[in-house]
Subunit: 150 residues, 2 copies
Amino acid sequence: MTGKCVPAVEQVDSSYLEDLIGYNARRAALSVIEVFLDRMQVYNLRPVDFSVLSLITHNPGITSRQLCSTLGILPPNLVGMVNALEKRELIMRQPHPRDGRAMGLHLTTPGQKLMRDAERTAAELEAEVAGRLTPTESRTLIRLLKKIYQ
Amino acid sequence: MTGKCVPAVEQVDSSYLEDLIGYNARRAALSVIEVFLDRMQVYNLRPVDFSVLSLITHNPGITSRQLCSTLGILPPNLVGMVNALEKRELIMRQPHPRDGRAMGLHLTTPGQKLMRDAERTAAELEAEVAGRLTPTESRTLIRLLKKIYQ
DNA sequence: TATTGTTATACTCTATAACTATA
DNA sequence: TATAGTTATAGAGTATAACAATA
């Protein structure tokens, strides 16, 4: 047996995977989320917590059901997150005005304060990420990504 | 208390999240992976199995360590995958020509046959996804995503 | 009958520590 | 001493079934 039969791989060729849109989208998402995880540690928020609080911020009175369908979370998996955020006194439940089954979610005053800071941090991170692109490229990227999943 | 105090949310406003590159990249990636999961069921391959087999296909003799660093998988989590693929007789281990600690991974003949079909299916899916964009947009999207994570 | 919110639970994915054999 | 591969295990994330209360 010669070395030619079982040659070692010096440099890995991943060009096949790198030509796939899904592969690149996943790598880009993971790259951003990695930094996001780090920056949000001071607020003790995971990306999903930030998404939930952000939707409550911009949609006061939103229900758990609406959060689930917007973020693609299953209801049983949201219960613990909402409970934890309520226990931290960042959000509070109020009866839904027209549906006795549902509860509207609202930020508390400390929750509003936290989210003002957290959204500023998120905006700074977004500026850094978008900074790798020109403003036009940045808008193009978001537009094309929306065309993929919408 | 009037209805104005606790108004119900009729239409959820997710425009804040939709302006974030990371959020859009994640949604796009999940959208593609969802279809990928479905199409690869006939081959009994998850996305990560396809990635592993594809890298072995284009890099015969690649080691576990190289697979891990290329795909961002931790070594303990790769062991089970490689064992399963070997048990299915899709891949085989061969001694590394120059490093007695490592094993080079190679496709078996059935593995080569499976991957010819699986990569054709993946190419079809890629064509469908890219079909939502013009060819120029498709190339632009991949180029911009690479600028984000590279 | 359908929907909201919930509990319990199982399964998958990811992460860490520690070991062996070899470099 | 460092690295490749492995084992065991813990934690996080995601999934389904079933229930009470309300529509």
